[in-house]
């Protein structure tokens, strides 16, 4: 079931990338998809793929709204005349709850695209993420908003 889903998706993407939706090209895409699917077989055999897919989609939606908001906030900040008083750059240490590489990468990615925050580095022991904040007025509030927003959603999507 999972493999079929993956193969169909991959063959559609293949047809889109190569730019022709002929039967022959779709079959070629499907053949490559089967090859790729067999290659990563053990990794994709999870029972709740559809549920996970929905959660990942909701994460993606959150991501795009946050991106739009973030670009808007930066634009307003850049255009405001008293910009220098408004910004208070700081690097704060954010204690991570998520533990695997994929989740940390995703979280760092999302944080970079949230308003006024940019992830800089991960500590060697993977417990702390260093974040550069453009307007740091309340450290605890910033940490709490990431904890209850992105990190909660990521944990939901990947457990």
């Amino acid at each position: 079931m999972n493999l079929v889903f993956l193969v169909v998706t991959l063959s559609l993407v293949w047809a889109a990338v190569t730019g022709s939706f002929t039967v022959l090209n779709l079959l070629l895409g499907a053949a490559i998809g089967v090859g790729a699917g067999l290659f990563i077989r053990e990794r994709i055999e999870s029972p709740h793929l559809l549920l996970r897919l929905r959660r990942i989609l909701s994460l993606a939606l959150l991501f795009f709204t946050e991106l739009a908001l973030s670009a808007w906030r930066v634009a307003v900040l850049v255009l405001s005349p008293n910009m220098k008083q408004k910004i208070a750059p700081a690097i704060i240490a954010y204690p991570l709850t998520v533990s695997t590489d994929v989740q940390i990468t995703l979280l760092a990615h999302l944080i970079t695209l949230t308003p006024g925050t940019l992830s800089v580095d991960v500590a060697e022991d993977r417990r702390v993420l260093y974040i550069h904040a453009l307007e740091m007025h309340d450290r605890e509030a910033l940490i709490a908003s990431i904890k209850s927003g992105f990190e909660a959603k990521i944990i939901e999507a990947f457990q």
Partner: protein
């Protein structure tokens, strides 16, 4: 009529995307320190090219072009934060600090800090 609406929407998106690019360019000129400039370049810049690609997807009426534009958007959204993150890290480790200093710098306290 609906087609006309699509064209109007695409035109507005193009202009909005161009304006975001302009704001990003202004941002890297106006913001006072390097790390703040990174915010402008990584966010406003990515949204600028993303909106232009979305405008193409709206008016091309060709499945291959639409999918390619959407793939392009996903690709830019994935790569913009990676380059910003990598670049901020390189600059921090190499010892570039803003002239006014940070209001708070907790990265300074880590054991392997330089």
């Amino acid at each position: 009529m609906i087609m006309d609406g699509l064209y109007y929407l695409a035109g507005l998106m193009l202009i909005a995307g161009a304006l975001f690019s302009l704001v990003a360019a202004l941002g890297i000129l106006r913001l006072p320190d390097f790390y703040s400039r990174m915010h402008a370049a990584s966010k406003a810049g990515a949204v600028g090219s993303g909106l232009a690609l979305l405008a193409i997807a709206l008016v091309s009426f060709d499945a291959a072009v639409i999918l390619r534009a959407l793939l392009g958007i996903v690709f830019f959204m994935l790569t913009a934060p990676i380059s910003a993150h990598l670049f901020a890290r390189a600059a921090y480790i190499a010892g570039y600090r803003p002239a006014g200093g940070f209001a708070l710098d907790e990265m300074n306290e880590r054991p392997d800090a330089n």
